[in-house]
């Protein structure tokens, strides 16, 4: 992102390398759409407004290259080459997201193959654990104690799962009915909780947006910050409460332990990603409206003269708040907890114990942060860079916190099988990121007051516009590819190929089963022959 968009803009603005730029000149647009003033930068500015601006991306940060609004350049000239910035902006975002998609799919295919093969072999799991369970390379006594307890826990869970499976098979119809009713009731409860969360996020976003438009200097420092961060606070609260609730009710639903963990994780993932979705939806609702307020420019130009920057600001705020929370939790919760447990022998505190490092929750946090980064990339090109720095720091914070404050969790999550699951969750996050991007590129009118797409109706229009400039034959080819006459047969062919591979996989599975049966048959033959031999020997 940086090299293709920010660099050319800054280079041309400062005239380095003999470059010049052509600023976007608004043609044939209503004048009221192009008014765009940034509040709070004129006159005497208090010191704390700088801090507010830094934390929420308004004020002096709004017109920097951090946000969409900075890129008003139409064309950059480097000596003889013309560099089409709007096209580059659009394409870079799409390429970045597609590369992430390809990379995730590649990694998850490897994990999928492994988990597929692993699950095919319930034939083997106990023997593998018993005969190959002990790692002979362990030299440390503490590590060996840990390995003992994790082996014991693994064996116990497997045995319990088997017992539950047998119990499930023996359930009477009456019990089944009771359990299904209970599950439906609990799921309705979960849905009610989720709708409560969504409604509160919606309300918080609307309130926050309304009050941001008020004159900032009227409010106190804390009040201002609170209003800016209200959606983030509500989202974080929801992300914190919902998993606690889910892990409590899962006990009543009587699933097998492995499925319990998966279901709780799926619910937590859904809550986190849906929260972001609701935030975007409520923002989108306010930006696009059906009454005459928006008729002139296609979007709510009074409140949002540069709506892309505003969306970018919300994503930026979410990311900063996420980082602050991780840091605050590590410093203000984990370390004092460790100090309390080590030095205070008060019974309830000892019972609470040290923090356990939960891998699933931490992975979900990372997925959440990454989804925010993906969604915000189009509106705030430097967001991936900020995310990189953030994750770098978060890694070391978590590492230090883990080394010093956590005790090892008894539940050992088998890394290889969960790998695929976590990558699948990441993929869901990426697909969620594609949706608002697609909608805003193709449905919502791009701002007329800022950004590189001032002259276009919608951001996507820059592509057909460029294609028109191509030579005729290339144009015909590209038009042909984009038309339905090509897309539908292509889709059908892809479906056929997919069915072929599914059939192939099924056939392989059947071959494996047959070979297994043959193996058992062979040993029985051997036994039979040995018996016959001994009988013959006895007779002679």
């Amino acid at each position: 992102m940086f090299s293709f968009i920010t660099l050319p803009s800054t280079i041309s603005q400062y005239g380095v390398l003999n470059s010049s730029y052509v600023k976007v000149s608004p043609k044939g647009i209503e004048p009221q759409c192009t008014i765009y003033t940034i509040s709070g930068t004129k006159g005497l500015v208090y010191f704390y407004t700088y801090i507010i601006d830094l934390l929420s991306g308004t004020g002096f940060l709004e017109m920097t290259s951090l946000f969409y609004g900075y890129y008003r350049i139409d064309m950059v000239h480097f000596n003889a080459i013309k560099y089409n910035l709007p096209l580059a902006y659009l394409l870079t975002t799409l390429v970045y997201l597609s590369l992430s998609l390809i990379w995730i799919v590649k990694r998850s295919v490897e994990g999928f193959k492994q988990s597929f093969v692993r699950e095919e072999d319930p034939f083997q799991s106990y023997c593998n654990k018993i005969f190959a369970g002990w790692d002979f390379c362990i030299t440390d006594l503490n590590a060996s104690r840990l390995k003992h307890s994790s082996l014991k826990y693994e064996l116990k869970t497997d045995l319990e799962e088997e017992r539950l499976r047998q119990k499930k098979a023996r359930r009477t119809t009456e019990e089944k009915l009771r359990i299904y009713c209970l599950r439906i009731f609990l799921n309705i409860f979960v849905l009610a909780l989720l709708s409560g969360c969504f409604y509160s996020i919606y309300k918080a976003t609307v309130y926050s947006q309304e009050n941001i438009s008020n004159v900032i200097s009227k409010m106190t420092f804390e009040g201002n910050l609170f209003v800016q961060y209200l959606p983030s606070i509500v989202i974080t609260l929801a992300n914190f409460i919902a998993p606690l609730f889910f892990s409590y009710i899962i006990r009543f639903e009587e699933y097998s332990p492995a499925f319990e963990i998966r279901l709780t994780l799926m619910r937590c993932v859904f809550v986190r990603l849906a929260n972001i979705g609701v935030l975007l939806f409520s923002l989108g609702n306010r930006i696009v409206c059906a009454n005459e307020k928006c008729k002139a420019c296609g979007y709510n130009y009074e409140l949002y003269p540069c709506w892309e920057s505003r969306v970018g600001q919300e994503m930026y705020k979410l990311m900063i708040f996420d980082f602050i929370i991780i840091f605050a939790v590590a410093v203000f919760v984990d370390f004092p907890r460790k100090l309390l447990v080590t030095y205070c022998s008060y019974k309830p505190i000892q019972w609470c114990g040290l923090q356990k490092f939960q891998i699933p929750e931490n992975v979900l946090e990372i997925v959440y942060g990454q989804t925010i980064c993906w969604i915000g990339t189009f509106y705030s090109p430097l967001l991936p860079a900020i995310a990189t720095v953030k994750y770098f720091i978060v890694f070391y914070i978590k590492k230090i916190s883990l080394m010093h404050t956590c005790r090892p969790s008894k539940k050992s999550v088998r890394a290889s099988s969960s790998n695929f699951f976590f990558l699948a969750v990441l993929l869901i996050g990426l697909i969620l990121a594609f949706i608002p991007l697609g909608l805003s590129m193709t449905r919502i009118r791009s701002s007329k007051a800022c950004g590189p797409f001032v002259n276009f109706n919608r951001s996507w229009d820059v592509v057909p516009h460029t294609v028109e400039g191509f030579p005729g034959a290339l144009q015909k080819v590209l038009n042909g590819i984009a038309s339905e006459a090509f897309a539908v047969p292509f889709f059908v062919v892809i479906c056929l190929i997919m069915f072929y591979f599914i059939a192939l996989a099924g056939a392989h599975k059947r071959v494996v089963d047959q070979l297994r049966e043959q193996l058992v048959m062979e040993s029985r033959d051997k036994q039979f022959l040995i018996r016959k031999l001994t009988e013959a020997q006895k007779r002679s």
């Binding site: 018993i130 190959a132 002979f136 064996l155 045995l159």
Partner: protein, 190 residues
């Protein structure tokens, strides 16, 4: 390295390299570690000396291992059956546990290690002792009776092909050949 008597003669080094799966560096390192277990005077005649089991078990690679007694018993060639090991026994052990040892050799020796009563088959008592070794010594770390029975039933179901209630060497090797973790876990590197 010093030309002292504590160094292995070269022809012996070559011989050991041919007879075991170890490389020259690994044999030299094993020699060094073994001589550290002996007192200064005994180091002169390192190849003839036997190190008692208690000293062998001070090696960091073995001290945390729940199968330490069985390993010493299996690889020791002492007539007194006291688990003491000579240098060649030590090399033998390292060779079986090295990276380049074949899966057949490893599974053969694993079978002997797990066969606690040395009767040539893994019966229920052997399996019970094996599971107890894995879960740790101490009463609160063991599995309950019913869990143990269930576990042993499952193991026998998976590996006992001829359904005689015990696992013999070929059945064991068959199960190990399909176990993905065995090669990486049955390994000791100095």
């Amino acid at each position: 390295m010093g030309g002292s008597a504590s160094q292995l003669p070269r022809d012996l080094l070559g011989e050991y390299q041919e007879l075991t799966f170890l490389t020259k560096q690994e044999i030299v390192l094993a020699h060094k570690r073994f001589s550290e277990l002996l007192s200064k005077e005994e180091r002169e005649s390192i190849l003839q000396k036997r190190v008692p089991k208690s000293k062998i078990l001070t090696l960091p690679e073995l001290r945390a291992n729940p199968f330490q007694d069985r390993i010493c018993r299996v690889f020791s060639t002492s007539e007194d059956e006291d688990g003491s090991m000579s240098f060649e026994d030590f090399l033998d052990m390292l060779s079986v546990f090295s990276d380049s040892a074949t899966s057949e050799i490893k599974s053969h020796y694993a079978f002997r290690i797990f066969d606690f009563d040395d009767d040539g088959t893994l019966d229920r008592k052997d399996l019970e002792k094996l599971v107890n070794c894995l879960t740790g010594e101490g009463d609160e770390t063991r599995l309950s009776e019913s869990e143990m029975d269930q576990l042993i039933e499952n193991i026998l179901e998976e590996s006992d092909i001829d359904k005689d209630g015990t696992i013999n060497l070929s059945e064991f090797q068959h199960v190990i050949s399909r176990s993905p973790d065995f090669a990486s876990s049955f390994k000791i590197v100095l």
